[in-house]
């Protein structure tokens, strides 16, 4: 296995007032350029894990490392710098877009966080939309003017636009028809080949997971159980 890009050890998260932790001693690693599937029953803690890795939720225990840096202890500027290298496609694309800002704004926001100069924004936004098969005119649309699949593609485009080292995709293709899904999966595969992005991929679709992941980590009640490798063509 290649060197680890993300290393999560003994992650614990307990929601206030909850009886038991939703994430309970979870450990996983994702190597550079690797695609790891995270599967499990609904409610087992996958989305929570994703948020914990990005430090969007504060964990109650465990260690987080990203590319050798102690992500778990990073603060301020350092944390922001690390986050910039991780892309996130959240589970509910509709609510992951600011209802008062346009789709283009959403993508431009991430680009600006990466220091893309203002004058290049329009072009980069259009390019990102193009990648997910949407015309550039969609940049002006607000989230409620888009179909479910279009919103999901905006979310993917947003994460892709900044060329992250790791992408955490929470059900990224669930709302896409098979053809667009194929387009997106192909795109991710191409990117991975070209730039070596690592993927942590949450999905319920066995076909997608089996087709797409190097490794599948089954999750149950907040922890990983018996990791298996898929026999994906490789």
């Amino acid at each position: 296995m290649a060197e680890a890009l993300v290393e999560v050890r003994d992650l614990v998260k307990r929601h206030r007032g909850a009886a038991r932790p939703v994430v309970d001693g979870l450990s996983l690693t994702v190597a550079r350029g690797e695609t790891v599937g995270l599967v499990g029953d609904s409610g087992c803690g996958k989305s929570t894990t994703a948020k914990l890795i990005l430090r969007l939720l504060e964990r109650d225990g465990g260690e987080l490392r990203f590319d050798g840096a102690n992500l778990g202890a990073a603060r301020g500027r350092e944390l922001r710098a690390l986050r910039r290298r991780i892309g996130l496609v959240p589970q509910h694309p509709q609510s992951s877009l600011n209802p008062r800002r346009s789709a283009g704004d959403a993508i431009a926001f991430n680009l600006r966080a990466h220091g893309v100069p203002r004058r290049e924004l329009d072009g980069r936004v259009a390019a990102a939309l193009e990648l997910v098969g949407l015309p550039a005119a969609f940049a002006r649309r607000r989230p409620h003017e888009l179909s479910g699949g279009q919103v999901q593609r905006i979310a993917i485009a947003r994460a892709l636009a900044t060329a992250p080292a790791l992408m955490i995709c929470d059900e990224p293709v669930s709302a896409l028809d098979k053809s667009v899904q194929a387009q997106v999966l192909n795109l991710l595969a191409d990117l991975q080949r070209d730039s070596g992005v690592a993927l942590l991929f949450v999905s319920h679709d066995p076909a997608v997971v089996e087709h797409f992941c190097d490794r599948v980590l089954p999750m149950e009640r907040g922890r990983i159980v018996t990791p298996t490798t898929t026999g994906a063509t490789r």
Binding site: H15, V39, G40, D41, S42, G43, G45, K46, S47, T48, Q91, H92, Q94, S95, G133, L134, P135, A137, H144, E145, L146, S147, G148, G149, Q150, R153, D170, E171, S174, A175, L176, D177, K178, S179, V180, Q181, A182, Q183, L185, N186, A189, D190, R193, H204, D205, P206, A207, V208, E210, H211, F212, T230, G231, A232, T233, R234
Partner: protein
């Protein structure tokens, strides 16, 4: 109750034509699966059927349910119909829930509103195992606090049961939770529970299982099946999941660029589609057999919704089989035989040729 849709159009401000004349027939107890490209107008169709156009949305055509025209309905009549006769599972489950109220009371309110349990005339109860007992407790003179308390308890029990039916583990805990405390899949199941709780005669489900694992998905589809079988409810299911489409069976309609391009029984259409678009869609199914990065996607993109369709077949620019006439003449949905209809000039020829 049977649903008849004729020439349905949905347009948005800015000249967006999301639905461009759709005809659908869905008999009582029937199932119709709506498949189609992202952005082709499936959700817009679904919402229009419930009489819920978004703001700035214009709906044309005719929709009748059990012989009654839906599009002209207003106020009280429409509200009596919604929820009780027509259930809708929206595409975005987070948008279905009041963020400040616990899940249980949201369901309770609906049950009371449509008098399924806990209020006067109880409805049928066909969806549950052993559900027969609950309806009764709501009947009769529910005077006095004791009766009210009993009816209240009955409603709550029913809520928990409903949540169990949609495959939620620990349903009592979910009922006591706020929406933001639930995972995506849990929320989606709650949204389904909200739509089916009043045992509607027409259930419209817009991609209801996207966040559910196969096991739960099966369970939900079974639930829909029970509604259909026991109450004769009709089901309109929007999905991308060919497996699910196959599982529910019935009719399948394929939408492209705001129009139905192919229609037929699931068994036939999903194995031997006539329309090149349907064919391409099915081919794009990922599987272990296809090397990563090589999924056969349909090249190009659908015609923009905010401009009038160019002449010819809307799919022609992306169609491998397209011939010259495809770019000139727009195909209408024509029956190919007594089961299947397709909007493809080539498909007609093919059938003719085959026939």
């Amino acid at each position: 109750m049977s649903l008849e849709v004729r020439g349905l159009t949905v347009a948005f401000a800015g000249g967006v034509e999301a639905v461009r004349g759709v005809d659908l027939t869905l008999p009582a107890g029937g199932t119709l699966v709506l498949l189609g490209e992202s952005g082709s107008g499936k959700s817009a169709t679904a919402r229009a059927l419930v009489g819920l156009p978004g703001r700035g949305e214009r709906v044309g055509g005719s929709v009748t349910l059990g012989g009654r025209s839906l599009l002209g309905l207003r106020g009280r009549e429409l509200r009596a119909l919604r929820g009780a006769e027509i259930g809708l599972v929206g595409q975005d489950p987070s948008g279905a829930l009041d963020p400040l109220r616990r899940v249980g009371p949201q369901l309770e309110e609906l049950l009371r509103r449509h008098r399924v349990v806990g209020g006067g005339a109880g409805g049928h109860d066909a969806s549950g195992h052993g559900a027969s007992g609950h309806g009764a407790s709501g009947h009769g003179a529910s005077h006095g606090w004791r009766a009210r308390a009993r009816s209240r308890a009955a409603v709550r029990a029913r809520v928990v049961e409903l949540l169990e039916h949609v495959g939620l583990p620990q349903p009592a805990r979910v009922a006591g939770s706020f929406p933001h405390q639930l995972s995506g899949g849990m929320r989606q199941r709650v949204a389904i529970a909200l739509a089916v709780c009043c045992e509607p005669r027409l259930l419209i489900a817009d991609e209801p299982t996207t966040a559910l694992d196969a096991r739960v998905q099966t369970r939900v589809l079974e639930l829909f099946g029970r509604l259909r079988d026991e109450l004769g409810s009709a089901l309109l299911l929007v999905t991308h999941d060919v497996v699910a489409a196959r599982a529910v069976g019935g009719e399948v309609a394929v939408m492209y660029a705001g129009r139905i391009v192919e229609r037929g029984p699931a068994a036939r259409l999903l194995t031997a589609p006539a329309h090149p678009y349907t064919r391409a869609l099915l081919a794009a199914q990922p599987s272990r057999a296809i090397p990563r990065g090589r999924l056969p996607a349909i090249p190009g993109s659908p015609p923009p919704a905010d401009r009038p369709l160019p002449p010819g077949c809307p799919f022609a620019p992306r169609c491998a089989a397209a011939v010259g006439v495809c770019r000139v003449e727009r195909p209408e949905l024509e029956p190919l035989d007594d089961e299947v209809a397709a909007a493809c000039l080539l498909a007609e020829r093919e059938v003719v040729a085959h026939g």
